[in-house]
Amino acid sequence: MTFTIANTLADVLVALAAGARPIAGGTDLVVGARQGKDSLPETLIAIDRVGELRTIEAADDHTRIGSGVTHSMLVSDPLIVEQFTAIADAAALVGSPATRNVGTIGGNVMNGSPAMDTGAPLVVLGAEAELSTTAGSRRVSLDELWVSPGRTSAQTDELCTALVLPNPPDGAGSAYVRLEYRRAMEIAVVGAAAAVTLDGDVITAVRIALTAVAPTILELADLSGLSGRAVDESFFAAVASAASEQAAPISDLRASDRYRRHTIGVMARRATEAAVRRAQGEVIDVPVNRALGVGAAS
């Protein structure tokens, strides 16, 4: 096995073209190999020291998060916390401080787990993945990228170099909430992200995506009926029932499908409530899980 540390993106892309596999924090790859899931690739190219991948850049209409940005960086970045708050909510919950210090958003996205915490926030905030090769770059929607648990549509020589997000309009707010049984070293039982835009008390846009209730991150469909509605109890109730109805959860060691179907409604409602409050200008500390209620336990 060979392990090469790259210093530039160009070196990484050349190595990938030659058949190497990328490694950043290794929090999925190495742990998976040790658990006997998949053995480590023969040729590894370490991308964690490539500075070009570790920046967050704001442009007029969009923000570009480098794929090598760690969860810790996301949680402490003022722009992410203010404008893309749901991502910060999610990043703050991942694993332990050690995991957050080395685990990256690009690794999270390309690992393609339906239980990934940053996935649903990226979806509701309209992120696209930038995939690069020596020949150039393309952007794909996350819906197109995630095929099935652990599988993406990216080619083997493509590196996810960034997540690109449109800058949210005025009156927007977002949040991510998950159900967890303990407060560290946890994986989402179910989770929900919401992004809303308000015009006064009226919802002008709403997107909701769910964690760990389908083979990939699931964005709720048919929410157009919720736009134009006032923020009231019936709006939140509609969100909760849409989430419970559209979820396709499984039963496993962590929860039954029945319990997941119920609690995803609770999480979707809480995420939406927090997103609305943020859109109204209220500051709710990151992560929402700690700032509010017990099920997403304070």
Binding site: Q35, L179, E180, Y181, R182, R183, A184, M185, I187, L253, R254, A255, S256, Y259, H262, T263, V266, G293, V294, G295, A296, A297, S298
Partner: protein, 763 residues
């Protein structure tokens, strides 16, 4: 006591452990060392039809492959000899060792494991406790009657042993009660889950073997090796490097003999290091699953007049040390209450699960959780406050307990008052929050323990003790005791420990008895040296030896501290003459007498030496939409006699509370239809983390307890693990209005109870 009031000193092994300079067994490497791997059954119950290791033996780099044919043909384990080192004919649980390999590398050892031909015919599995004791059940040990079984151990079918506690006439008293309440509680199995998976290295020199192993009980490990490999005790040396936790999981004899046998066959040192999966499935130490049926008869004025109970405990496939569990569990279901008429039957049931064994306060968290939950149900039935109901019924000084033991001075009533006051019992709380109370108890254990002490010419002391440090605090408290006897600073004392060739026999770290028994031996051995120092000082100071006081490194005449001589001078003098040596054996305590009770299958667990008492009050918040419960505060009060080392005592309570929260809410083994563990890993077996820790407020009711440990101390290591789950259960019930009858009380189970209750309200 505020933490700032605690004496300032560090654990002797602390810097090593924190900086990484300390060595655990897995860190060691011996020249020529081979890697050991086990072939496990990985099936819950089967008859072996073909076991062929010839292909594995033929692989280059494989030095030894052993099966049952390669070790003495005998059954072991205390009380019920039902176990063999390697599976013979039948495998009875997934973690049973079928064969062992020693090879030059881990990869070759794996290859050899894969090359072992292991064919079997599956047998019906026994996993349900009630089905296991029903007529016609498949038997886990059809030949049980032919095994060597000692003590009062009534056994039949799948019942390994049947014990009871009985006093008065429970049936008649129940019939006379104003109100009778019956409850059923079910506890899942759980694990000790020490952070260090076990590791063992064995090396032979001639006919002697040295085994480095992560055990809590080096002498039990030695005795197990001697018994199974038929070796004399002076040919087997057990050394324990630093231990990364045990919690009971590393009590008992485990795999030391397998590795010693491999090393002998391979003619090389052999090392075993468990994976996390192995640590979950292979040892015969997990906390037993339990079904608890309990009925209490009570008068309208709150007096308990009778209690009956029927308990089934999951023994797993082999008995390990679990034969005392039924009687222990019965004592916890009786609880520390004045109950004049009682009959609790308790059966230890063979299944095709991993064997159960002593995990920190075996049977107590489940028994206490069930009976304290039940106690709140009884109090509610007569509209009495749970605190007042306990005030009326708990045992106090001079009271007669549920098996006819009369208690000397004890402090349970103070514990109840202190913990409830600290928690603010009766104060209004926000919606979704509530307090829950539980009281618990735990015995102190009589056992032989010895110690040697020697003072060198420079005044420094070595204590040679059989005590083990897996969190017991022996590295602190034994030094404190010796320093106190000798008038020295703790830093003048070093421990030589965890080596059977050096120290006199002792129980090791088991049964909360490091201080109780090892402590007494250390105290006496140190006192012998102190007496010798006083004799020497008497000559120097022209005084009577009885008037010499040792303090601050000086020997002085009582009342005249200026007339003194440094202890180091006396030590130097002794080094040229009669050496300063102490050796002591702590006498084994007598058990208290019982009056008026009769116990079937008595396993010496009805009479309790120096019982420890506790009250825990948990403040819990429940998210009713999801069922997630979070413990916000735990207020504890403990009567463990005199507290010698407050640092260690608070540490024991805090660790015990955290372990108790895990058992209460998130830690439970999940079994598949095939009887195998499904969550044998730290992602799906949910230990509590430090981020989950509540604030913990502890008070000690310090009562000098005669016939106990040094300075009137009782044990404390297991007691904090007893009452936490019961307190949480009662808080959850008060916060939600529903009872969760299965432990762990997971979020989904709480939610299920809430939705079931809502459905019943609707219909």
């Amino acid at each position: 006591m505020a933490i700032t009031d605690l004496p300032e000193f560090i654990r002797a092994d602390g810097p090593d452990k924190v900086t990484g300079s300390g060595r655990y067994t897995a860190d060691m490497t011996l020249t020529g060392q081979l890697v050991a791997k086990f072939k496990y059954a990985e099936v819950s119950h089967a008859r072996i039809t073909n076991l062929d290791v010839s292909a594995a033996r033929a692989i280059p780099g494989v030095f030894a492959v052993l099966t049952a044919d390669d070790v003495p043909d005998l059954r072991y384990t205390p009380v019920i000899a039902d176990r063999t080192l390697f599976a013979r004919d039948v495998v009875r649980f997934e973690g049973e060792v079928v064969a062992a390999v020693a090879a030059i590398s881990a990869a070759i050892a794996e290859q050899a494991i894969d090359a072992i031909v292991f064919e079997y015919e599956a047998l019906p599995i026994v996993t349900d406790l009630e089905a296991a004791v029903a007529d016609g059940s498949t038997l886990v040990h059809p030949d049980l009657d032919s095994y060597v079984i000692t003590g009062d151990t009534p056994h039949e079918g799948n019942v390994a042993t049947h014990s009871s506690i009985e006093m008065g006439d429970a049936e008649a008293a129940m019939a006379s009660a104003d109100v009778v309440i019956s409850s059923r509680y079910v506890a899942d199995a759980s694990h000790a889950a020490p952070i260090e998976p076990r590791a063992i290295i064995a090396q032979w020199e001639g006919d002697k073997v040295t085994i480095w192993t992560s055990t809590q009980v080096p002498y039990d490990a030695r005795d197990g090796v001697c018994e199974t490999l038929q070796l004399p005790s002076n040919k087997v040396r057990i050394i324990v490097p630093h231990l990364g936790g045990g919690f009971g999981g590393k009590c008992g004899f485990h795999f030391e003999a397998h590795i010693a046998a491999l090393a002998k066959a391979a003619k090389r040192p052999v090392k075993l290091v468990f994976s996390r999966w192995e640590e979950f499935v292979a040892p015969d130490r997990r906390r037993e699953g339990m079904i608890i049926d309990v009925t209490t008869g009570v008068m309208h004025d709150g007096t308990i007049v009778a209690r009956t109970g029927a308990l089934l405990l999951d023994n797993g496939a082999y008995s390990a040390d679990a034969t005392f569990f039924p009687q222990a569990a019965a004592m916890h279901v009786a609880g520390p209450y004045k109950i004049p008429n009682i009959k609790i039957d308790s059966r230890l049931v063979y299944t095709n699960h991993q064997p159960s064994g002593s995990v920190r306060a075996p049977t107590a968290p489940q028994g206490c959780w069930a009976v304290e939950s039940h106690t709140d149900e009884v109090a509610a039935a007569i509209s009495m406050d749970p605190l007042d109901f306990r005030r009326k019924n708990i045992v106090h000084t001079g009271a007669i307990g549920p098996v006819g033991q009369t208690y000397d001075e004890i402090g349970l009533d103070q514990c109840l008052e202190l913990a409830t006051k600290s928690a603010g019992w009766g104060n209004e709380l926000p919606d979704g929050e509530a307090l829950g109370i539980a009281v618990g108890w735990w015995p102190s254990f009589a056992a032989s323990a010895g110690a040697f002490a020697k003072m060198h010419g420079d005044g420094k002391v070595q204590l040679i003790t059989g005590a083990n440090e897996c969190g017991t605090g022996s590295v602190m408290t034994l030094r404190m005791i010796a320093a106190d006897e000798l008038g020295l600073d703790q830093t003048d004392i070093e421990l030589v420990y965890q080596d059977t060739a050096a120290a006199p026999v002792g129980p090791g770290a088991t049964g909360s008895q490091t201080l109780l028994n090892h402590g007494r031996a250390v105290e006496t051995a140190s006192r012998q040296i102190a007496d010798q120092l006083k004799e020497l000082a008497a000559v120097h100071l022209e005084a009577n030896a009885d008037d010499i006081v040792l303090s601050g490194g000086m020997a002085s005449v009582a009342g005249t501290p200026t007339v003194s001589v440094p202890i180091v001078e006396l030590a130097a003098e002794a080094a040229e003459g009669d050496l300063l040596l102490g050796s002591a054996s702590a006498p084994v305590h007598d058990s208290p007498e019982l009056f008026g009770s009769t116990c079937l299958g008595d396993q010496d667990f009805a009479s309790w030496l120096a019982p420890q008492f506790s009250c825990h009050v948990a403040r819990v918040r429940v998210d009713k939409d999801t069922g997630v419960a979070r413990v916000l505060q735990v207020h504890t009060a403990h009567d463990s006699g005199t507290i010698i080392n407050p640092v260690a005592a608070h540490g024991q309570i805090e660790g015990g509370v955290l372990m108790g929260i895990g058992q209460a809410l998130t830690e439970g083994t999940q079994y598949g239809e095939d009887g195998r563990q499904q969550n044998a890993g730290l992602l799906e077996y949910k230990l509590q983390t430090i981020a989950d820790a509540p604030s913990i407020h502890t008070q000690f009711v310090e009562i000098f307890t005669p016939n106990a440990g040094p300075k009137g101390a009782k044990g404390l290591a297991e007691a904090p693990n007893v009452a936490t789950a019961g307190a949480i259960s009662n808080a959850v019930a008060r916060a939600t209005g529903v009872r969760v009858r299965q432990m762990p009380m997971t979020a989904e189970r709480v939610w299920d109870a809430l939705t079931t209750s809502a459905r019943e309200d609707d219909s």
